[in-house]
């Protein structure tokens, strides 16, 4: 037990001392036989007081300190640091919250606030008496990272990690890197071609010695924990042997392939063969055979000696320090009939429309008809009144406005009519909205009454209640309806099961805290970036991926990881191995072992999160949580329960 304790009662300017008689609190604290010195202070967090505390600890040989001040959320680490600088173990420091939970909460009743502060400080002193010196747990960390998904988020993250000296394995499920941006072709705000962006990143990646890029690759298992995950990766073959001789025969081989189907890259606007070459903006520049469609007829093997239809999948096992999920999102697929989608031929999604613009030359033709008047319906699959997607997808307003500029530039006779629910082209993107107004685009706004779409003689009719013109119903004749569809979470059950990824209310992957831990997940060592977390535009995705990189580098860059020592401990002599703790543990941190010839439970320290869920279920009370042991909690209860005769009405 610690019996050389220093107590500091902070006035916090006057935030505390206006309502709490700090001198009275100090006096009573000083009466405790284990308290060597007790002081009041104007600002405990100020530099001068910090120095004074350090001096006091050294001169008086204090073995614990209690600071009664603000919430530990603000200054726990400040004062742990003070203790450490004075040569005291930081876990022998106790912070007592007499501001948020006392002086402010009871500013209506200073007498009672003082009485409460006295008891809170008493409990703090008792906690300090029973506090144990602890060392943070250090575990070895592999200086290597796995980045899942080679879209813009994953590629940028891989490069940034590699430049910090981390060995990076970048895996992409598809056979080409670049994710979805190749489909958008020109990117806002500056109309850069996606091809240029992806090519720059791809070329930097392949010459970087720290990055191993695998396409056609998926994570199939994960074990271990932060600092040392053991991951298995499955790599699909491309069904080409060397690649050097392909150029002479590939065109002919593709031509001769009898298997033809709708090209998903162009949303069925064009066809593709089972032997495929990359689209513009996709890399590497190297063909692949889609084995889910190939019939193995063998025609291509006669043309190209390099083709080997019998290539097998490969598996790879790696030791990884940290993992970044950058798997991106999908576009909302409207159900048949939503705004006429799938029923009326002239209703398409924004994503398909972008492909249509790229694939058309002088005139904009869809379904054998020249398009002149386009209506964009906003918030399809976003901000739903009835559906599951209540969130705003953030990027779509700007994407639609940008598209209206691109289409008008390429086909000047086009008339763009936007049916919005309020335009959210936030920040600099507002400039695009202004441009769209200047090119005389028409903006109407609906609220909870969605526009009605019907078709007659090949012409689409839209009825919309426009709230900007006193809720007047406006009728429009339109050639093409573009549904500005939202971003939705990618369906990736296998990955979610392997990594036990936490999923938020919107079904995207969830961070620990939106402000304090915005790229960390509940699984230590697993980070999220880009659209797998929430809808973001490219610039925002890259920012989130780079913030994940800095957190990953801080975690594994030193080669070892420091963990908070508040872990569960098991008294093996009284454990009866009933299995209750293993059943309730959410972190897979309890393992079966032997002690004196009997089976008992043991804590896997690298996995234990210190949540304490195992504590109440143990029938023999064999489990204690460091920092929250029975003696610590019960001594605090004793101090708080001691009856003050003044507590009367």
């Amino acid at each position: 037990m610690r019996c050389r304790i220093g107590v500091y009662v902070c006035m916090c300017g006057s935030n505390i001392s206006d309502y709490v008689d700090v001198e009275k609190v100090r006096e009573i604290a000083a009466e405790n036989p284990c308290v060597v010195l007790a002081k009041t202070t104007m600002f405990a967090c100020s530099d001068s007081t910090q120095k004074e505390i350090i001096e006091d600890i050294k001169v008086n040989e204090l073995n614990a300190i209690v600071i009664a001040s603000c919430s530990p959320k603000l200054h726990l680490f400040t004062f742990r640091n003070v203790a450490e600088r004075a040569g005291l173990n930081p876990y022998n420091y106790v912070q007592v919250n007499i501001r948020e939970q006392c002086s402010w909460a009871h500013s209506d009743n200073p007498k009672f606030a003082t009485l409460k502060a006295i008891q809170l400080v008493k409990a703090g002193i008792d906690k300090a008496k029973n506090s144990v010196s602890l060392e943070p747990i250090m575990i070895k960390a592999e200086h290597s990272a796995l980045v899942i998904g080679a879209g813009i988020t994953g590629m940028k993250a891989a490069l940034a990690l590699a430049n910090t000296g981390t060995k990076v394995t970048l895996i992409e499920k598809e056979h080409y890197v670049g994710g979805r941006i190749a489909q958008w072709n020109r990117l806002f705000p500056h109309n850069d071609p996606a091809e240029k962006l992806v090519k720059t990143l791809y070329e930097e990646i392949i010459i970087n010695d720290n990055i191993y890029l695998y396409t056609g690759a998926e994570l199939i298992s994960k074990s271990g924990s932060v600092g040392n995950f053991i991951v298995k990766i499955k790599i699909k073959p491309r069904y080409f042997k060397s690649g050097y001789l392909i150029e002479q025969c590939i065109e002919k081989a593709i031509e001769s392939c009898p298997v033809e189907f709708d090209d998903p890259f162009n949303y069925g606007l064009t066809k593709i063969k089972a032997i495929q070459q990359n689209h513009i903006g996709q890399f590497p520049y190297y063909p692949v055979i889609d084995m889910s469609k190939c019939t193995k007829c063998g025609i291509c093997t006669d043309i190209c000696a390099d083709i080997d239809l019998e290539q097998k999948e490969e598996e790879l096992e790696l030791n990884i320090g940290a993992i970044l999920i950058a798997t991106g999102a999908e576009s909302y697929q409207p159900p048949s009939g939503e705004f006429g989608y799938g029923v009326i031929p002239g209703v398409i999604t924004l994503q398909m429309f972008r492909r249509l613009i790229d694939l058309n030359g002088e005139k904009l033709i869809y379904n054998h008809k020249q398009i002149k008047r386009i209506a964009y319906i906003y918030c399809v699959g976003s901000r739903q009144y009835d559906g599951e997607n209540q969130y705003c997808s953030r990027y779509c307003c700007t994407a639609a406005v940008h598209t209206s500029l691109i289409v008008k530039e390429k086909f000047p006779e086009i008339v763009n009519i936007h049916l919005t629910r309020g335009v959210r082209t936030y920040g600099k993107q507002e400039i695009l909205y202004n441009k769209s107004n200047l090119q005389k685009d028409i903006y109407l706004q609906f609220d909870d009454t969605p526009p009605e779409i019907s078709e007659e003689n090949g012409m689409i009719n839209i009825k919309v209640v426009d709230i900007l013109t006193v809720k007047k119903t406006i009728e429009l004749d339109i050639d093409l309806v573009v549904l500005v569809t939202s971003m939705v979470p990618r369906k990736n059950k296998e990955l979610e099961n392997i990594l036990k990824l936490p999923i938020g209310r919107d079904k995207f992957y969830n961070e620990v805290h939106p402000k304090l831990k915005p790229v960390e997940t509940m699984i230590d060592g697993v980070f999220i970036g880009g659209n797998c977390q929430a809808p973001m535009n490219i610039s925002e995705s890259v920012k989130s991926s780079l913030s994940a990189v800095s957190k990953m580098n801080a975690l594994i860059g030193k080669g070892e990881i420091q963990l908070e020592p508040s872990l569960a401990t098991i008294d093996k002599s009284i454990c009866v191995w009933c299995d209750e703790c293993t059943k309730i543990c959410p972190s897979d941190a309890i393992i079966k072992t032997e002690y004196n010839g009997k089976p008992v439970a043991e804590i896997n320290e690298a996995n234990c999160k210190g949540c304490g869920m195992c504590l109440p279920v143990c029938p023999t009370n064999a489990i204690q949580l460091i920092g929250y042991s029975d003696v610590e909690i019960e001594s605090m209860i004793d101090a708080l329960a001691s009856y003050s005769p003044e507590f009367t009405i």
Binding site: S71, P72, K73, N97, R99, E100, Q101, C102, S103, W104, A105, H106, S107, D108, N109, F112, A113, L115, K116, Q119, L120, A123, V512, H513, M522, S566, I584, P586, S587, K609, G610, C611, G612, M613, L615, P616, N621, L625, Y628, D630, I633, E634, M636, I637, D638, L640, A641, S642, Y643, F647, T648, I649
Partner: protein, 129 residues
């Protein structure tokens, strides 16, 4: 209420990441609640041992309140159920000891739930008087 009547004392088990911020927020916004409410923090509401609760009653607390993490728990989706089980088990133990089960309460307090916290404290104190 007569003169010199003792005000009931409540012990709150609150969690560092979820309900503590709400209780701090109540203070910050000067939303007052009875000063006989004392908070002890734990990592998760599913970590409260029944023996701690019984200890609090034995030492003179009139009520114990568990500020549950509920669906916001960062450790496990089963937290609400687990905390509920602790309350159920403790209620049984309290009955055996002749302590009125209504003196142990739980309710989910999210990280910004300062109003619900203040309301819960006021009504709990009222019920205990």
């Amino acid at each position: 209420m007569g003169e010199n009547q003792k005000i009931p004392k409540i012990l709150v088990f609150s969690t560092e990441k979820i309900s503590d911020p709400a209780i701090d927020l109540a203070g910050l916004l000067k939303k007052h609640y009875p000063p006989t409410v004392y908070v002890v923090n734990v990592p998760c509401s599913s970590s409260v041992k029944p023996k701690w609760i019984l200890h609090a009653f034995k030492k003179g607390f009139d009520g114990v309140f568990i500020a549950a993490d509920g669906s916001d728990c960062q450790y496990s989706e089963t937290c609400t159920f687990n905390t509920g089980e602790i309350v159920r088990k403790t209620h049984d133990l309290m009955k055996k000891k002749g302590i009125e089960p209504s003196r142990l309460k739980m309710a989910a307090i999210c990280s910004v739930c300062s109003d619900p916290f203040v309301k819960q404290m006021k009504s709990f104190i009222e019920a205990l008087i």
